[in-house]
């Protein structure tokens, strides 16, 4: 086998790829957070819970309604988007003019309730969800056996992230979004229905988490706790990337997945902390974050 400095290169490439897979989830989640933050200036603490909800909905859809994975991949994010829209409309909007810390606390409360509810109903040992038949099996790469489903995770996440980026950065709708984030009132004055855009954006940002949840269901066990742990990591990623840019959120997500993958290989004990350490370093060197604009 190819080795350099005593490191097995094949194994290393395997770890890189695996990191990228994890990074795909980070990218989807931090992208969702960034979009919502952009327009509503709130950090959606319930984003993790919505990811969890995505996985559970996929499971429920399959077991109660016979909706298969592929359909779930479309239906579940929409359903979660609708829930999000209701949350925005009835819970978030009434406090939109208060200090943004309140909406953070509100969504934190929502996260607790959702997690508590699912623990209560389904317990916390996790539910099984099968990899769709079409994606069973894998491909033998020179350096590793790449399960087809994992490859699909990377591809689909890149497609979703990429198109979201394109819409926001390159289209007129995106310009409305960006401007609406800064001065919604004035945008209204220009004749743009900002509340509608806000609601839809919130729905979309949360739907991204739902999508990630469906993607995750077949590979991680579907459990109520799955959201809260990943969310804190995603927070660190958001701090590292800075909320300044949509592209930044995506890239940082992928990058951190890789960093974490490498750590699992070289020093697994630190794998849970490496992203936080990375955050510390970024805070010291570039407090606004890698892609953040100067304050």
């Amino acid at each position: 086998m190819a080795t350099i400095f005593g490191i097995n290169l094949f194994a290393l490439s395997g770890q890189l790829l695996v990191g990228l897979i994890n990074g795909s989830f980070y990218a989807l989640l931090s992208l969702g957070l960034a979009i919502i933050f952009g327009l509503l200036k709130i950090i959606n603490f319930a984003q993790g819970a919505m990811y969890m909800l995505g996985a559970f909905f996929a499971w429920m859809a399959l077991n109660y309604m016979g909706i298969n994975y592929w359909a779930a991949l479309i239906v579940v994010p929409i359903a979660i988007g609708i829930i999000a829209i209701l949350i925005e409309r009835f819970l978030v909007r009434p406090i939109a003019n208060e200090d943004h810390l309140y909406s953070l606390l509100l969504t934190f409360g929502i996260a607790l309730v959702l997690q508590g509810m699912f623990t209560h109903i389904y317990g916390s040992s996790g539910l099984p969800y099968q990899i769709p038949a079409e994606l069973k099996g894998g491909t033998k790469l020179p350096f590793m056996y790449l399960p087809n489903y994992r490859a699909w995770i990377i591809v689909s996440s890149l497609i979703v992230c990429g198109s979201t980026w394109w819409v926001i950065e390159k289209t007129k709708l995106g310009a409305y979004l960006r401007a609406g984030t800064e001065n919604p009132q004035l945008m209204q004055g220009f004749g743009i229905n900002v509340p509608l855009i806000t609601t839809l954006t919130f729905g979309f940002g949360v739907a991204l988490a739902g999508f990630a949840g469906v993607l995750a269901a077949p590979v991680y066990s579907v459990s109520p706790e799955m959201g809260s742990n990943i969310l804190i990591v995603v927070f660190a990623i958001v701090v590292i990337g800075g909320m300044g840019s949509i592209g930044g959120a995506i890239l940082t997500g992928l990058l951190m997945g890789v960093v974490e993958g490498l750590t699992k290989f070289f020093y697994p004990e630190a794998s849970t902390t490496v992203i936080f350490l990375f955050m510390v370093i970024v805070l010291l060197i570039k407090p606004a974050g890698l892609f953040g604009k100067e304050a």
């Binding site: 810390l101 409360g109 997690q115 927070f235 004990e269 902390t273 936080f276 510390v280 805070l283």
Partner: protein, 308 residues
């Protein structure tokens, strides 16, 4: 004058309370009340929402617990050491966290806290998920045996009163004035020549030291230091206590801590046990939507409306 009478009454109440109420429960309330007061110093008076304050509670607890077990020092020194350790961590974390503002600050503190959580989970001296068990309470100044619950209670009460006084004093000190100014208009404070980050940092250190003190004391009371105290749930709980009691009020955190601990105590025994997170979540939502001033804040508003 009126205020002073109120204080005297409350202290008198606190002195006789253990004869009526289970003292360990009271001590728990006092520990959390101190923790919440420390937290409120940052949130209510500097406007910084730390979502990782559990680290300091836990650090105080672990350090005190470790020293009490390994060296058998007397409890007041144990508490001091725990407090100092929390202050040191607070100094480091604070330096990093004050580089960001608002929501970012919350996220940075949460992430840093998670870092510490994993450290404590894996570090050998904390006993991992077992925690440090069987921490001796020791004898205060080598004289008063604290294994007696009522002696312990008065020790805890004294610590709490000291912490409470310090928070109160800090708010009404020259330093507190600057904090107020920073909260009101930060760029202006900068332009007047104040290094606002230094002031935020100092407040952060004071707050984390007091949180550590609460943790140290709690460890002595329960003879145990565990991961619970550094978990993000705990950070969330202290936010809840403060929010529920009334952030930015002096008594709010105390009331909030009392209510939350009581609810938890009540629920952990009953049928409602597994609803605990749901109920906490609902309280959060209700507080934010309809009850932002908290119990004490709303009460003050009411007083003002009717008598003011």
């Amino acid at each position: 004058m009126k205020i002073n009478k109120l204080y005297v009454f409350l202290i008198a109440l606190a002195l006789v309370a253990p004869t009526v109420v289970y003292p360990v429960f009271l001590m728990k309330v006092l520990c959390f009340a101190l923790f919440a007061c420390a937290f409120n110093l940052l949130l209510g008076f500097v406007g910084l929402l730390s979502f990782g304050h559990a680290v300091f509670l836990g650090t105080g607890g672990y350090v005190t617990g470790y020293l009490m077990i390994e060296t058998g020092i007397s409890p007041e020194l144990g508490v001091l050491a725990g407090t100092a350790a929390a202050a040191v961590i607070g100094a480091i974390y604070g330096k990093l966290a004050v580089k960001r503002e608002g929501i970012y600050f919350a996220m940075v503190t949460l992430a840093l806290a998670q870092l510490a959580f994993f450290f404590y989970l894996q570090a050998p001296f904390t006993g991992g998920e077992d925690g440090l068990q069987g921490v001796p309470r020791g004898a205060l100044f080598g004289l008063i045996d604290l294994s007696d619950n009522s002696a312990m209670y008065y020790f805890v009460l004294a610590i709490f009163l000291f912490g409470f006084w310090l928070v109160h004093r800090t708010i009404h000190s020259p330093f507190g004035q600057i904090l107020k100014a920073i909260r009101e208009n930060e760029p202006r404070a900068v332009s007047l020549g104040y290094n606002v980050n230094d002031y935020k940092w100092a407040a952060f250190v004071i707050s984390s030291a007091l949180a550590g003190m609460a943790g140290s004391t709690k460890t002595l009371v329960f003879q145990l230091a565990s991961l619970t105290d550094v978990h993000w749930h705990m950070s969330g709980e202290v936010v809840l206590m403060t929010l529920l009691g009334g952030m930015g009020t002096i008594f709010g955190p105390v009331v909030g801590a009392g209510v939350v601990v009581t609810i938890q105590n009540y629920m952990s025994g009953g049928e409602l046990g597994n609803y605990i997170h749901i109920i906490m979540g609902v309280i959060f939502i209700v507080c934010v939507l309809a009850f932002r001033s908290g119990i004490v804040g709303e009460f003050q508003k009411l007083m003002k409306k009717n008598f003011g």
